[in-house]
Every structure is written in structure tokens, then in C-alpha cells.
């Protein structure tokens, strides 16, 4: 164990952890939203993310950009970023809707048992990621260096870069807007109603199918944003990027209390931080193990996660 290393690097580890955590948190929202409403682990959410991470790369590819391109000027960067975000959001959203349509809706129509949903989701996840895997020959795809990391400010040995700030701010803003939407808007209330009592919700005039689609869509949008951030931060993507990060996102969602939006944020940030600290303390190879140990410990003490379930709280 390397305590001195941890203490020495605490600042930098914190900021990189927060940035990673913000991505995880955005990703986790999709799990939490779907779970909150349908009580289903949407296993295919990882592929919603995956498609987003490729979509923006393809769009940037249209402009002839690849990992070896030079960083364009500021205006183009902003334009490209927006375009990439839009593309990722659209494709992630469409994927989420598609998954709902193909893997969930037919089962819902037949009122299938919950496990069946889990398995079709696994099937959809396999299908999408493997198809991408075959198409890309399981090779990595590099990301154009749209944002050259540059220190914005430095505290001690903690260098806070423009990219990290962008990621964290974007995550917080999306999160805040989503939270407002769910808690304040009429549609948001509809979502919560379906989560808490689907039959009653129908009796209030809520269109359940549309709400469910909306939930998948929202999860997809968030995953799309997360995917662009991920691409920029890590610099490559590959067919199983969704699967890997998906497990972490799912862990974060459960950690915070699955079904709870703020829980997803808390869980994501906590996980990002913890992984970095643990990697520094025990070695990078223990990074994932640490997050699972934390998860087990927290669930043993708080069986419904840190903040508990909220979207469908105390569903009868």
C-alpha cells in the first residue's frame, strides 16, 4: 500500500476521478431511469452508450478528422463538439428506443416475467456490441484531438484542465436539467406516476407506452452525452467500451440507490474518486475490485443504496 503516493497525488487524483465519475454518472442515469420505471436492469444500455461513442466519431470522420488530425480552431471545435453531441444524442436515443421496441415492447405486450426482459436485454446487448465488434474487427478507433488538454488553473500539483472542466460542468448541467424535468414538469410527473403505480397512472390519463419510450429516450440522451465525453477523455473507443463502463455505471446507479437520479450522480462521482484513490493506494490492477468491495460494503449497511430508491419509492 502506498499511502505517501496517495497523499502526494491526492489533488490530481481527485480531479481526474471527478471527471471520470461525471461520465459514469451520466451513463448511470439510463440504468436508473429505466429501473425506476420498469424495475428492469436495462442490460442493453451499455450499447446505447457504445453507439453514441461511435456516432460522434463518424460525424467527425465526415470532416476528415481522425486521431492524427491537428486540433482545429476554436470556432470549428465548438461547432464540431455540438455536432458530435447532437449525433451521439440522436443515435444513442434511437438505439435506446430501438432496444425498447425490439427487446422490451413485445415482451411487455405478452406480459412476460421480469427475467425474460433481462435476457432479451442481454441478447440485444450481445447483438449490438458483437455486430460492432465484427464490423470494426474489434479494433480500436481513435478520437480526433478536438480538445488539447490545457491547464486552466493549478492548485499545488493539481492541474485542472479545460477538458475536465467541460466534462464536469456538462454532466452537472445535464443532470440538473433532467432532475428539473422529472420533478417539475408535467411529463416528469407522468414518469413518476408510471413508476409508482402504472395502472393508476393510466387511470389519470398517462400514456404508459409513451412514458416508457420517453424514459428510454432520456436515458439514451444522457448516455450520448456521456459517450462524447468519454471519447474526448479516453481518446479511443472500441466495441466493448460500453460493456466495460456499463458495469461501472450500473454499479454507480446501485450504489446511489437505483431509481434515484441524484443517487446516480452521487454514486458515479464516488465511484470515480474511489477508483482513482484505490488505484493509487493498492495499484491500478485493483481499481475495479475496489469499486465492487465498496459496493458490497455499502449495500450490506444500506440495502437500497446510499440515497435509497426514489423514482418509484415505496411502490405498492
Amino acid at each position: 500500500m502506498n499511502f505517501s503516493g496517495l497523499i502526494q497525488d491526492f489533488g490530481p487524483l481527485t480531479i481526474t476521478g471527478l471527471a471520470q465519475g461525471a461520465i459514469i454518472a451520466l451513463f448511470a442515469l439510463g440504468y436508473t431511469l429505466v429501473y425506476g420505471v420498469l424495475r428492469l436492469i436495462n442490460f442493453a444500455h451499455s450499447e446505447v452508450f457504445l453507439i453514441g461513442s461511435y456516432a460522434c466519431l463518424i460525424v467527425w470522420g465526415f470532416f476528415g478528422l481522425d486521431q492524427n488530425s491537428a486540433t482545429p480552431n476554436v470556432l470549428s471545435v465548438i461547432g464540431l463538439l455540438l455536432l458530435g453531441l447532437v449525433a451521439a444524442i440522436i443515435f444513442s436515443g434511437l438505439t435506446a428506443l430501438g432496444v425498447e421496441l425490439v427487446a422490451y415492447r413485445p415482451l411487455r405486450k405478452r406480459n412476460a416475467p421480469p427475467l425474460a426482459f433481462l435476457i432479451t436485454a442481454i441478447g440485444a446487448s450481445l447483438f449490438i456490441s458483437e455486430t460492432v465488434g465484427v464490423m470494426t474487427q474489434r479494433n480500436i478507433k481513435g478520437v480526433p484531438p478536438l480538445i488539447q488538454p490545457r491547464d486552466v488553473f493549478v492548485i499545488g500539483n493539481m492541474h485542472v484542465t479545460n477538458l475536465q472542466i467541460l466534462i464536469i460542468v456538462l454532466a452537472l448541467v445535464s443532470m440538473f436539467l433532467l432532475d428539473r424535468f422529472i420533478n417539475r414538469s408535467r411529463l416528469g410527473r407522468g414518469i413518476r406516476a408510471v413508476a409508482q403505480n402504472p395502472d393508476s397512472a393510466a387511470l389519470m390519463g398517462v400514456n404508459k407506452s409513451r412514458v416508457i419510450s420517453l424514459v428510454f429516450l432520456l436515458g439514451g440522451l444522457m448516455a450520448g452525452i456521456a459517450a462524447v465525453m468519454y471519447d474526448l477523455k479516453i481518446g479511443v473507443t472500441r466495441f466493448d467500451a460500453g460493456f466495460l463502463l456499463g458495469i461501472e455505471a450500473f454499479t454507480a446507479a446501485v450504489l446511489g440507490g437505483i431509481g434515484n437520479l441524484r443517487g446516480a450522480l452521487l454514486g458515479g462521482l464516488l465511484l470515480g474518486l474511489l477508483q482513482n484513490y484505490a488505484a493509487s493506494l493498492f495499484g491500478t490492477e485493483w481499481l475495479h475490485a475496489a469499486s465492487f468491495v465498496l459496493l458490497v460494503l455499502i449495500l450490506v449497511v444500506r440495502p437500497t443504496g446510499l440515497l435509497g430508491e426514489s423514482l418509484g419509492r415505496a411502490r405498492a
Binding site: G5, Q8, D9, P12, L13, T16, G17, Q20, Q67, N68, Q137, R138, N139, I140, K141, G142, P145, P149, N157, H159, T161, L163, K233, I234, G235, V236, R238, D240, A241, L244, L245, Q275, N276, A279, S280, G283, T284, E285, L287, H288
Partner: protein
Amino acid sequence: NSDSGSDDTASGNCGYKLAFFGALTGSSANLGVNIEQGFELAINQFNEKKGSDCITVAKFDSQGEPGVAPGVARNLVADKKILAVVGPPFSGESEAAVPIFEAAGIPSVSPSATRVSLTANGWKTFHRAVANDDAQGPAAANYIKDVMKAQKVFVANDQSAYGAGLSEVVQKTLGAAVVATDKTEADGKQTDFSALVQKVVSSQATVLFYGGYYQNAGLIRKALTSAGWKGTLVGGDGMKDVGLAKAAGNGPATGTIVTCPCSPPEKAGGTFVTDYKAKWNVDAGTYSDVAYDAANMLLQGIDAGNNTPEKLNTYLKTVEYKGIANTYKFTDTGELDPNFIKVWTFKFDPTGNQIADQEVPTA
């Protein structure tokens, strides 16, 4: 001569099969495909000379997984026309599959399984056309010490048998110059290396030696550059692949040093590099050249009338074959003769190619 291969009497030693055994699909397929393509190229060229299908290519997809390998290996040995195997590429699957080749008496030549212990199993039919980790490690360390003159070196590995073995040797050879170490998960299991990068930066090392494969190495190189680290990444043959530059971007990858227990193919003259590109429409990858050599060595043996696995195995015991990447001669245990072990370093240039740098001593 366009006689069909099945007409044994006409061309003497035709109608046999050579097998490739290794990952063609799955996450470890990259190396497998590199090797298979080199292997297949050699056979194609041979057949062009000898008759359209003198020697048939048989491919066996082990997925690179020790759990899958035995079943596939049993399938391989059931085909009595197979005289020898090129593969398995990975050390783990070799452990699982070679006992089955051994039981069937089929010789195998691995172009890339470098785990030291493989030749300690008492196998009679196993050969490797590449130096083991003990040879490459000291060379890499010597290069870091003597050529780069690095005072502070950070050593990390991906915990694969290959990467861990290599980095252990490097660490031992470098001794006090190693300021810190770390381990990562294997390729495809980890993408965020922030913590490792932070450690490297904080250690003030000027060289990071990474024992592992090119994907992780590329990601790490990119993250290091983003974090402003100015040092050099050094690694073994597992990183000698354009994939590293694809992951890192050509800019950050430039200057990265990889060692390889092989000579640059262009040194050997010949047209391998262009032939390969022409046939497969991609550049030759890691160990494509060694696989090509291994296949040619076997083909030469068959052509000389060694048309049973036993004969071919005996042939391998004595042959001294000069290929494009090396000259091959095997010891009793199947190890490459130490006299022929050459280790070269290669350097990534700004276009992502690995340019031969220099030959380095292995001791």
C-alpha cells in the same frame, strides 16, 4: 506444373495440410490474424510454385482461450493429413493445447509464445521461432540503461503472463533505476489509466517501460501526453504494432521504442513486406514475418520429403533455416538457439510506422 495436389505421385510431396492454430475471432484475434496471414501467404507462394493446391491451409480457431483450445486441438489432431502446426500464438493456450499435439506426435512451431516455462514441460514436438522473455527483457533494459541513459524508470505491466514476465526481467536488470511500479488490467479490460498516469508523472521518471500489448500501451501513451508527461514509452514485441499509434494518435506515439527478438524484414531483402500488403491489403503486423518464416521452414521440410509428422519433427531438430526475420535453429527443448537470437529495437515514427532502430545486446 498445374497438376492437382491430390495427385501425390506427380509432385512428390503434395496433398498434405499445414495447420494454423490460434485465435481468429474474439478479443485476442488481432495477433492470431497477423500470424495466420503470414502463414497463409507463405503457403500460397509455395503452392504457386508447386501446384495450385499442393499444401492445404487448415485453420483452427482457438479464440486464444485456454478453455477452448483443447477441443479445437483434438479436432486438429484428428485430421491425419496435417503434418505440422504453426501456433499457438499465446502461451496460455499453448499450455492447454500442446499436450494434445504432443500426444499425437504433431510438431508445432509457435511464432510468438514467449513464456519461459513452455520449454520446461519436456515436450518433444514443441518449437518456438522466437526468443523467450528472458532474452528480450535484458535487451530492453540494456537499451534503456545504455542507449537512452535513463536515470529514473517506471515499470508497469498488464499482468498477462507475457507482460508480467517481461517487465519482471526488465525491472531486475535495471535495478536501482526503477523508481516505481504499477500493474494494470489486461487489454480490453480497462480504459481509464488516470491513476497510473498520475503515478508516472509524480515519479518524475523519464522512461516508462510497459510490459503488455499495444492497445493498452496506446491508451496509456495518449493519456500520458495529455497529462503533459514528456518521457518515452518503451515496451516489448507485444507493442510492436500500428495499433499503438492508432490508439495514441501518431503524434503522441512518435518516439515510442519497442524491442523485438527479430530482425527488420527489410534487412533480409526479399519482397515480404510488399507481398503481404498486396495480398491482405494491410501492413504486416506483429509476428506476421515470423509466422511466414515458420511456414516456409516447414514447407521446405515437406518438400525435402519429410511427409509424416514424425519425420518433420526430426527435421525440425536439425534444420538451420534462414528466414526473413531471423535464422532459426532449435535446441533440444524446442527453444531458439541462443546464437541466433537477435533483439532489435524499433521506433515509432510520425506516420505510425515502426522503424528499425538498432540491434541491442541481450546480456
